[in-house]
């Protein structure tokens, strides 16, 4: 983006930011500055969170108050914000949980705490931490599922032959293939799912989708489902693919439209 003349500042925490959010008769608005410079657009990578790691009570209080101001400032900012925070999901990016709530088909299949599921799918199974989303293990079809007590596990069965990786950018959805990134045609069945994902607030990000039509040519009663959702870095080697969509991202900021 900088090569295209866009000045970028990277914020790794809220400290360099100043926020002012106002409500008056004309509604809500916010002003955001970074190291003393006015911010005109925001790309929310979803890496900031509400759980301050300050070691003392005063530090935690200040960090929480700052995070609460920050999320409000981003949410009501009048300029473009990609991956804008929403009342339903204050921090981070939309998760597969949001997709399920939004009416889309999404993993996981099971959740457990302190136990392994009474479940034996004839598929591969991934086990993820409910606390931080990290991958805890992968099980082959029929392999007994077991996991240490780690604070809760979500379990997702999938067929690796039916898994696709997608990139969402403003105005476009792209599939990762052997030839790089390819636009997904508007009438592709996965577009309904992508619409749910966009409605949940993901403007720029990566998706892992299981499309069972690949194993059931009729597609009867089966629909694509989201296995994983996150920043564009979810797609391997995304840095090699950025040129395919960086103009769309720049355009979203230059247009000045609300993302």
């Amino acid at each position: 983006m900088e090569a295209r003349g866009v000045r970028i500042e990277l914020g790794h925490d809220w400290d360099p930011f100043d926020f002012t959010i106002r409500h008056a008769r004309r509604g809500f608005c916010s002003e955001i500055s970074f190291a003393g410079h006015d911010v005109t657009g925001i790309l929310n990578l979803g890496t900031m969170n509400a759980m301050p790691e300050a070691i003392d009570a005063d530090g935690q209080f200040i960090a929480t108050e700052t995070a609460a101001a920050a999320v409000a400032a981003l949410a009501v900012f009048d300029g473009p914000v990609l991956n804008r925070p929403r009342p339903s999901r204050m921090f981070g990016l939309p998760s597969i949980v949001d997709i399920g709530r939004g009416g889309g088909s999404a993993a996981p299949d099971w959740m457990t705490f302190g136990a392994s599921p009474v479940w034996s799918p004839d598929k591969f199974v991934n086990a993820y931490s409910l606390v931080d989303g990290s991958l805890l293990g992968r099980y082959r079809p029929g392999e007994p599922l077991s996991t240490p007590r780690v604070g809760g596990v979500s379990w997702t069965a999938f067929d690796p032959d039916c898994v696709s990786r997608l990139v969402l950018v403003p105005g476009r959805a792209l599939a990762v293939g052997e030839q790089g990134l390819q636009d997904i045609v508007p009438n592709h069945p996965v577009m309904d799912l992508i619409h749910v994902v966009r409605s949940a607030g993901l403007d720029l990000g990566g998706m892992v989708v299981e499309d069972p039509r690949d194993i059931d040519r009729d597609g009867q009663g089966l629909s694509p489902r989201v296995l994983s959702l996150g920043p564009v870095g979810l797609v391997p080697h995304i840095e090699m693919l950025v040129e395919h969509f960086v103009d769309d991202v720049v355009g979203a900021f230059e247009g000045g439209a609300r993302a």
Binding site: D18, F19, T20, I21, R22, H23, A24, R25, F28, A50, F61, I62, T64, E65, T66, A67, A68, A69, V71, A72, A73, A75, V76, P87, S88, R89, M90, V97, G100, R101, P108, D109, W110, M111, T112, F113, G114, A115, P117, V118, W119, S129, L130, V131, R149, V150, G151, G152
Partner: protein, 301 residues
């Protein structure tokens, strides 16, 4: 039969359990701390009502209950060590998913609006869902000049509140904001002072219970001089309150208003985890009766 999930150390939760038992309902209780320490949970998300909770000697299946009384408070931040904190966070996330997908009545599930974390965003999201009331002019900022200018608009005596959902007490400032230099500090929330009475409304399903509180203090929660009375809500305010509960995605909501001296209503907050004991006692148990009605509405199960 009702399932209750919460912390035995949470006074509001235990008040709710005791109220149900006092009304003759059988209640099975899952203490969150016990669940974190020694419990197990298994749930297929395709069949959330078949979620199974096990605490040594006792196994409970959600589908066997007519309703769930649930207060999912944050145990992780009070955990004695990081392992237990991690377990508590995992249990909380699992329960939020299960409670959000149940088909039986639950008071309260995780809700659909988390904006309460940030008071001003909460005003923008929940407060703005009805035009029956006004929202007080508000600023959140770390800019001393902006805060000073806002305070000046209100005679130097704005209301000061915390920015986030952390427990803070409301106070009124009296000329304590100064525009004096470049020092940076944490953001603060200042609000237009409303002079009048407070009203707390509880929504339970489609029932509404309102109490007016006249207090000599800015924050009536810490006042010893309150005068309270049960009131009927104007129709538009009542409709708006139902809309707030709907926006929050919960069956029990506590909504705070102020009425100024001209009779105008101002929205302050909609709470999806309200501490309702005092209001319930003063209403003769009306809130608890309504909660019991909701949780037993599918009692044929």
């Amino acid at each position: 039969m009702i399932l209750a999930i919460g912390s035995a150390a949470d006074a509001t939760f235990m008040y709710g359990v005791a109220s149900l038992i006092a009304r003759g309902h059988r209640v099975d209780l899952i203490d969150l701390v016990s669940l974190v320490e020694v419990g197990q949970v298994e749930v297929s998300l395709a069949f959330p009502d078949q979620a199974q909770f096990t605490i040594p000697g006792l196994t409970m299946v959600l589908g066997e209950y007519s309703g769930v009384l649930c207060r999912l408070i944050d145990l992780a931040s009070a955990a004695p060590d990081s392992d237990r904190g991690t377990y508590a966070l995992g249990v909380l996330r699992l329960l939020r998913e299960v409670c959000g997908r149940m088909t039986i009545p639950v008071i309260n599930g995780p809700g659909t609006d988390q904006s309460n974390f940030s008071k001003i965003l909460h005003l923008a999201s929940v407060g703005a869902c009805s035009d029956a009331w006004r929202i007080p002019d508000t600023i959140v900022s770390s800019d001393a000049d902006a805060l000073f200018e806002f305070a000046r608009q209100y005679g130097g005596e704005p209301i000061l509140k915390g920015v986030s959902s952390r427990k803070t007490w409301v106070k009124q400032l009296y000329g304590e904001i100064h525009a004096d230099g470049d020092e940076r500090f944490a953001p603060v929330l200042l609000q237009e002072p409303i002079h009048g009475s407070n009203v707390r409304v509880h929504v339970v399903g489609t029932d509404l219970f309102a109490e007016e509180i006249v207090s000599a203090d800015v924050d009536y929660r810490i006042s010893r001089s309150n005068q309270t009375r049960q009131i009927e809500l104007p129709t538009r305010i009542a409709d708006g309150c139902l809309r707030v509960a709907q926006r929050l995605g919960v069956m029990l909501a506590g909504i705070d208003f102020m009425i100024d001296e001209s009779g105008a209503w101002y929205f302050l907050e909609g709470n999806s985890l309200p501490a309702y004991e005092g209001y319930d006692r003063r209403s003769g148990g009306a809130i608890s009766n309504a909660i019991a009605r909701v949780l037993t509405s599918q009692a044929s199960r």
